[in-house]
């Protein structure tokens, strides 16, 4: 919309995305049937496609289909194995749409947009700053972990269970200390960076990126709302 860069797919206001996530949690929580869940995941997938996350959306859909057919297969089983598996799939079906949607939202929202939107809706900085930092730091942890594993191999320590039982103290130290050291260093560096950019300024924050609601926000919101209401009031259709 107002950003100058060319984006593939439509741009959605971060506030709308949060509302979508809430709606999705509610919808998944009150889903009347498995078929309805598939429609919900389809909707999320279409949302991902329209946001330009084509590969992610397709993979997410395929993985869900695999889960769906596995669930159908477990319905044929009997006994305690079935109970165990059904319980597991029950959890998957409950969490999957929300996780799928939050994945799309996280990868399409820039931190600047998020902060700007939160600022516009007057949410305390004490909550917004940690959340923004946390979401951006998650992928870094995975990267760090790969390096740490390599370094551990060089010292003949591996993060496996066997090694843990053999040398508990050593393994604990080798896992926690580098991760926490890295985290603490990043915290210092990020603080300096954000103070330099004037995050402590008491005046109201202005932003290069202007967030505002558009027609696409309304359409997406109405789609998800329709999905939710259909699940609540026309349960018979999905059984």
């Amino acid at each position: 919309m107002s950003s100058k860069k060319v984006r593939s797919g439509l741009w959605i206001d971060p506030r709308t995305k949060i509302v979508l996530l809430l709606l999705c949690v509610l919808t998944a929580a009150m889903a009347p049937s498995l078929f309805y869940e598939i429609l919900l995941v389809c909707l999320v997938s279409v949302f991902g496609l329209s946001c330009g996350k084509i590969r992610y959306a397709l993979i997410g859909m395929i993985v869900y289909m695999i889960f769906y057919f596995l669930t159908l297969a477990t319905m044929q089983l009997h006994g305690s194995v079935q109970v165990m598996l059904v319980a597991f799939f029950g959890l998957v079906h409950k969490v999957y749409p929300c996780g799928f949607l939050s994945g799309i939202i996280l990868t399409t929202t820039k931190t600047g947009e998020f902060l700007s939107a939160m600022n516009r809706s007057h949410i305390s900085k004490k909550i917004v700053v940690p959340i923004a930092v946390m979401l951006r730091h998650m992928p870094t942890i995975r990267e760090d972990w790969r390096f740490i594993k390599d370094a551990m191999k060089m010292r003949d320590v591996s993060p496996s269970l066997k090694n843990f039982l053999k040398y508990p103290g050593m393994t604990i130290e080798c896992i926690y200390v580098p991760l926490m050291m890295a985290a603490s260093k990043t915290a210092d560096e990020l603080t300096i960076a954000s103070v330099t950019r004037g995050i402590e300024n008491p005046k109201p924050r202005t932003s290069f990126i202007q967030v505002r609601f558009g027609i696409s926000d309304l359409i997406v919101f109405l789609c998800f709302l329709a999905m939710f209401l259909a699940g609540q009031f026309c349960k018979g259709v999905f059984l």
Binding site: V129, P130, V133, T186
Partner: protein, 205 residues
């Protein structure tokens, strides 16, 4: 350097540095929570022990966070963020509410000694870990209503049955006590790590 640090500590309220640190340690905290709860949560016989997994793994991270941000409000913010994140991932509302409430309680406990006393910090961690057990508190108060809510959430009837069988009412104190004990063990390990590694490196504030 020491001058700077003392002026930083004397500043009232949470500064940007504190907020960023809380955010980063929360990311690490969340990763360890995921690792801790993965072997438990999807298994109906073990779901009730999920807080134990969280308590066992997160101690050192929590202690370092408190040591780095020794101010009031740090743990409360940590709890609120955890509640929001778990809600987004579709968890039961009692768990999210538990995180927020126990975060504030733990904040008060650690704040009694100004977040400086390690023993009180470990106690605060034990309190914090009781947050996710809020689900099971909600369960034991009214098992019938609980089953209904979970059924609406898409969890199957058999799951509830197995949970009910593997968790007689006497299970609740075991879970709560076990969580506290494991949290204290994890906290002691964390204290050892802090003394051995991080205090020497000058990372703690």
């Amino acid at each position: 350097m020491s001058n700077q640090q003392s002026s930083y500590l004397n500043k009232k309220g949470l500064t940007v540095k504190d907020l960023v640190s809380i955010g980063i340690f929360n990311a690490l905290f969340f990763v360890f929570e995921l690792i801790g709860s993965l072997p438990f949560a999807p298994n109906p016989a073990l779901t009730f022990y999920q807080p134990l997994g969280i308590a066992l793994l997160c101690g050192p991270v929590f202690l370092l966070m408190v040591a780095k941000v020794p101010k009031r409000g740090n743990i409360a913010i940590c709890g609120i963020i955890n509640g929001i994140i778990w809600f987004v991932f579709g968890m039961h509302w009692a768990m999210d509410l538990g995180y927020i409430v126990m975060g504030i309680v733990a904040d008060l406990a650690a704040g009694m000694r100004g977040c400086k006393n390690t023993k009180w910090n470990i106690a605060a961690f034990a309190l914090f870990c009781l947050g996710p057990a809020g689900v099971f508190l909600a369960y034991s108060v009214n098992p019938a209503a609980w089953a209904q809510i979970m059924l609406e959430k898409g969890t199957s009837q058999e799951y509830i049955d197995i949970m009910a069988n593997s968790a007689p009412i006497g299970m609740l104190p075991v879970i709560l006590l076990g969580t506290v004990v494991l949290a204290i063990v994890s906290g002691l390990i964390g204290r050892k790590l802090l003394k051995k590694q991080f205090e020497k490196a000058g990372i703690t504030a």
